[in-house]
Symmetry: none
Subunit: 188 residues, 2 copies
DNA sequence: TCCTACACGTGACTC
DNA sequence: TGAGTCACGTGTAGG
């Protein structure tokens, strides 16, 4: 009868508002308990924290470029360290870009991601970090330098929830995460 | 009459769902267009990005207070890496650690580095970034999840200058770079 | 047919 | 007396 629909509709509303409540609990600076305001505040907070992350990442990147190179470390470990730090060695980073990305479903919850990337030393870590930040289960990864500045990355991914993920969606996920991480796309 | 309330209620619903849509547009990894799933995903994303920010902040903070860098490295290499700072022990946030590291020389300028690491999602990127920051030429890398939270990383490295690098020195280079990047050592 | 998710109009409640 | 928000039950469209 209608009573079934009534129940399910009730529980649906309940779950929805409960989700909204738990969302509200995670967002600071909640001005109003108002339903819509929660969404607005959540959106604003998301945007702000997004900027913050980008800022931190940039700052950290800058610090990273001051990391001692191969010889410096070797010398330091030999005892004759001539550590001269502080001089602004600003490399033009962020040259890493994704040339191509392809996803393939191999079984219900398992995918293979193949991407060719261009960039100097560091491109592997950047790409891997971008993919790992999505929280998927990564069972195997290989990075193959096919020629100077060019790396072929193969990633085996297992999705947590079955059935929901498609090849295209996974590709989009990784792409947007990469862009968020500062990588660029090379669209042919 | 009721017609006024009707209109305002319509516009209210409209604004609400519009807010939901704009929230959805900001959240990646959208599994379903489903109304409630948007909230769930937004919540998950918020949580993940929150962790990421905290992690970055911690990392950056560590970089900032990096005056006794050589000491930290030396101590870690000696195995007596106890908590140096008397104040807060922020190390608990970083769970990624190197369980074992082994280097092998295969020819004059080529080495194989094998390391088993422990840590959640993100350990691969961290380790890889640490190694890549040394500026070596990395020809091939594989990351194999041997069991949950445990990754076996194999890296093929080519050194620029021949003759000056030893297995032990390379191991030290990578170890200290890893420590500098915030990873910890598990010394048996 | 059943089930799910949705938008709708309406009554109730608060400021 | 409104103007705003909310929860409710219902009709309906897609799977």
């Amino acid at each position: 009868m209608n009573s079934k629909n009534l129940f399910s509709e009730r529980s649906r509303r309940k779950r929805l508002s409960q989700q909204l409540i738990s969302l509200r609990s995670l967002v600071p600076n909640i001005t109003k308990m108002d339903k819509r305001s929660v969404l607005v505040d959540a959106l604003a907070y998301l945007k702000s924290i997004h900027e913050e992350t980008a800022r931190l990442q940039a700052e950290l990147e800058e610090k990273m470029t001051d990391a001692p190179q191969e010889e410096k470390v070797a010398e330091a470990l030999e005892g004759r360290r001539t550590v001269v730090k502080g001089s602004g060695n600003k490399k033009s980073r962020h040259k890493s870009q994704i040339l191509e990305i392809d996803t393939e479903k191999i079984e219900d919850r398992r995918f293979v991601v193949k991407m060719t990337c261009r960039g100097g030393s560091g491109v592997g870590g950047e790409v891997l970090r971008a993919v790992e930040s999505l929280g998927f289960d990564i069972t195997y990864t290989s990075l193959d330098q096919i020629k100077p500045q060019h790396v072929l990355i193969t990633i085996f991914v297992r999705i947590r929830k079955p059935g929901r993920m498609t090849e295209e969606k996974l590709k989009d996920c990784i792409t947007s995460s990469a862009i968020r991480s500062g990588l660029t796309l090379h669209n042919p």
